[in-house]
């Protein structure tokens, strides 16, 4: 649990979902978007939902933001039932989605944000002042008098982010917030999330993403979701530990008398070997590389002492950690890329190349 959450232990859970299922009617068969989700997020946490497209992340956020009802089960936000205490939930949360194109193109950025401020009941002058503060905070001062329709994708998302903060939410739902943004704009949005959260203890973030690094950077805990189920929950470190119990270090030394075997017998050292990809290059280099597998990080001390005794100097030391993608592959048995490749193989491109038919022409997506 994050330390911010410690001071808020008397608060109800920021998110409490029990046995939540969500089924959409579709032809030829109903689609189960959520297949029994139990989720508990403490106040003050930054919690991530990581999963491929179609995993159920957005459905889960829509339930928590009162846009969808669960087919079964209960969901509460800070103790308020999303089905029956809808207005209470709406007063303390906000949501920003990636690729959001809401608002009115003819309005300027400042006007659009002010309009939304009125939906949260800000007095008119307060609204303008708050809008100006947020515009400055998200770095849109130069664009404040620009029409919304003329903003770039990154600028638009910054504006959406400002909209999401107008009501000073206690819980902020971010659904793929950096989708389609370039590296710089995505980093900027992530920084804003961190700054907003750090400003007041107890603020909670629920982030969905299929960008592993984003979840790793922003979230203290995360759930890996696939096909409507939570496969694992924990901190990024805990989840990585699941797929790699030992600590792996890559050592580069100026010399090593006796080769890697000299380290293999040390306490806590599971193995010490020359990297397999290093055999050809070793002859041209003046240094020695060793892949060191330790029972845990604490064994590194005895290795360093032993190297000193052998007269070796460490040129480089790098800890090798599994990524969240490794965790996902371990849990699901396939990577995100495989998911998208499968979609292509079945003739279902992620983005249609022609505009979709009018809504009425599509298969209905109704709850069972």
């Amino acid at each position: 649990m994050h330390e911010d959450a410690v001071s808020a232990t008397n608060l109800p859970p920021a998110i409490d979902m029990r046995g939540v299922r969500r089924i959409y009617k579709a032809k030829p068969n109903p689609v189960t978007a959520l297949a029994g989700i139990d989720l508990h997020v403490e106040p003050g946490e930054s919690f991530g939902l990581l999963g491929p497209n179609g995993a159920g992340k957005t459905t889960l956020i829509k339930i928590l933001t009162t846009l969808l009802l669960p087919s079964e089960g209960t969901a509460r936000v800070f103790g308020y039932d999303v089905e029956h205490q809808t207005q209470n939930v709406r007063r303390i949360m906000n949501v920003v989605s990636g690729g959001e194109t809401s608002g009115y193109g003819l309005l300027q950025v400042r006007e659009q944000l002010w309009m939304f401020s009125q939906f949260y009941g800000l007095p008119a002058r307060d609204g303008w002042r708050r809008v100006d503060e947020l515009i400055e905070a998200v770095g849109l001062t130069e664009q404040q008098h620009q029409k919304v329709s003329s903003l770039s994708t990154g600028q638009r998302q910054k504006m959406n982010f400002a909209r999401g903060l107008l009501n000073d939410p206690w819980i902020f739902f971010l659904d793929e917030p950096t989708l389609g943004l370039d590296v710089s704009a995505a980093r900027s949005v992530r920084e804003l999330v961190k700054q907003w959260k750090a400003a007041v203890p107890g603020r909670t973030v629920l982030l969905t993403s299929h960008y592993m690094a984003e979840v790793d950077e922003l979230c203290e805990r995360l759930a890996i979701v696939d096909r409507g189920r939570i496969l694992a929950i924990g901190s990024p470190a805990e989840l990585k530990h699941r797929v790699q119990a030992e600590s792996i270090f890559r050592l580069e030394l100026d010399r090593l008398e006796g080769g890697p075997r000299a380290l293999a017998g040390l306490p806590g050292v599971v193995s010490a070997v020359t990297p397999t990809d290093d055999a050809g290059a070793a002859a041209d280099r003046q240094t020695v590389r060793v892949n060191l597998t330790l029972a845990d990080d604490s064994a590194l001390g005895s290795v360093v002492i032993a190297l000193g005794a052998l007269g070796s100097h460490i040129v480089a030391l790098q800890k090798s950690e599994p990524s969240l993608e490794d965790v996902f592959v371990e849990l699901v048995g396939r990577g995100f890329d495989a998911e998208e490749a499968a979609a292509h193989a079945t003739g279902l491109p992620p983005q249609p190349s022609v505009p979709p038919p009018p809504a009425e022409d599509r298969e209905p997506a109704e709850v069972a």
């Binding site: 001071s7 808020a8 232990t9 008397n10 608060l11 109800p12 009617k25 106040p43 003050g44 829509k62 933001t65 009162t66 846009l67 969808l68 800070f78 103790g79 029956h84 205490q85 809808t86 207005q87 209470n88 709406r90 007063r91 303390i92 949501v95 194109t101 809401s102 608002g103 003819l106 309005l107 006007e111 309009m115 939304f116 401020s117 009125q118 939906f119 949260y120 009941g121 800000l122 007095p123 008119a124 708050r130 503060e133 947020l134 107008l166 009501n167 000073d168 206690w170 700054q195 400003a199 007041v200 203890p201 107890g202 979709p356 809504a359 599509r362 209905p364 997506a365 109704e366 709850v367």
Partner: protein, 318 residues
């Protein structure tokens, strides 16, 4: 809007260790109204609920008013073009040597066309369009009643249409020499106001129906436009239609309101045979207002429930 339950079962509000919200200058943009905890933030008085909904109404009307200033093309499409139709009827009546008040009937009808166009093509399609833009989902996530949004659209549309109607009325009256004979100013203004409330109440109902039935409702609206124009009597006294006119009067707020306004603005004319008196028509408009707004409120509540159950009404393209 029904008051939301405020109690949170199984919790003790405002714990001693609740996070203190002390805004610093560096974070002023990220801290607006400090509240001790989420439960305090979620507990609103009835007054705050009402004030927030009124502000939302104003907020939603705002883009309409901005659009009026920023997109002057409406002067051509919504004033000049309808005015040509009005002018055509003026020349027809003049050629037929109709009584002079008929010119006034046409000018008054031309002015009221602005409201009818606004209701049929802006108000009715608005929620459907908001859904398509991705706005409807955002409205649902805000702590306001969707009725405030609809009222905001109505007020914004009404104010902009008033400007258009005034231009047609003033220019038409001056250009074609219309002379009014008004005996009861108060009742005339009351009927005008009631016509607008009933008309925009109908617009709110249509907005819900359009969202529910989508393109089918749009096609129906297109198909019905000319017949409704006809039976509304925009360019002639609706009493001339006999039974059909009576039926139109009982169903279409514009037909009732326009007939009453013509009776009041051109008193003494014998063109109003077969229609109720202005007082009766005012009562009909009151009834229509109540029924339409009540039905719109019911429909919106139903729509929101359906949207949350089915997941397709609010979702863009869904």
């Amino acid at each position: 809007m029904a008051p939301a339950p405020d109690s949170v079962p199984g919790t003790t509000p405002v714990p001693a260790t609740a996070p203190a919200r002390a805004p610093s200058a560096a974070h002023s943009a990220f801290v607006y109204r400090p509240t001790a905890d989420p439960m305090t933030a979620a507990t609103w008085t009835q007054r705050r609920v009402l004030v927030t909904n009124l502000r939302a109404l104003y907020g939603r009307a705002y883009p309409r008013l901005i659009g009026l200033r920023r997109e002057p093309s409406w002067l051509f499409f919504e004033v000049l073009l309808p005015f040509l139709t009005t002018s055509a009827f003026v020349f027809v009546y003049r050629a037929l040597q109709a009584p002079p008040e008929y010119i006034g009937f046409v000018v008054l009808g031309g002015a009221m066309t602005a409201f009818w166009l606004n209701v049929m093509w802006m108000m009715a399609a608005q929620l459907y369009w908001e859904k398509d833009q991705g706005n409807l989902d955002l409205y649902f996530t805000t702590p306001i009643s969707l009725m405030s949004v609809l009222f905001g659209m109505a007020v914004g549309g009404l104010l902009s249409s008033c400007l258009r109607a005034s231009i047609v009325l003033v220019v038409g009256s001056a250009l074609y020499g219309v002379s009014f004979a008004i005996q009861d100013w108060f009742l005339l203004l009351a009927v005008f106001f009631l016509t607008l409330t009933a008309l925009y109440g109908l617009g709110m109902v249509l907005a819900s129906l359009f969202l529910l039935f989508g393109r089918e409702a749009w096609h129906l609206s297109q198909a019905m436009q000319e017949p409704v124009y006809f039976v509304s009597g925009l360019n002639f006294p609706v009493g001339q239609l006999g039974m059909l006119g009576a039926l139109a009067i009982s169903l279409i707020p514009l037909a009732v309101g326009l007939d009453a306004m013509r009776q009041l603005a051109f008193s003494g004319s014998d063109a109003h045979t077969g229609t109720p008196s202005p007082g009766v028509e005012a009562l009909m408009l009151v009834a229509m207002t109540v029924v339409f707004i009540g039905f719109a409120r019911f429909m919106l509540k139903r729509l929101e429930r359906m949207a949350r159950e089915q997941g397709k009404l609010s979702v863009r393209g869904g």
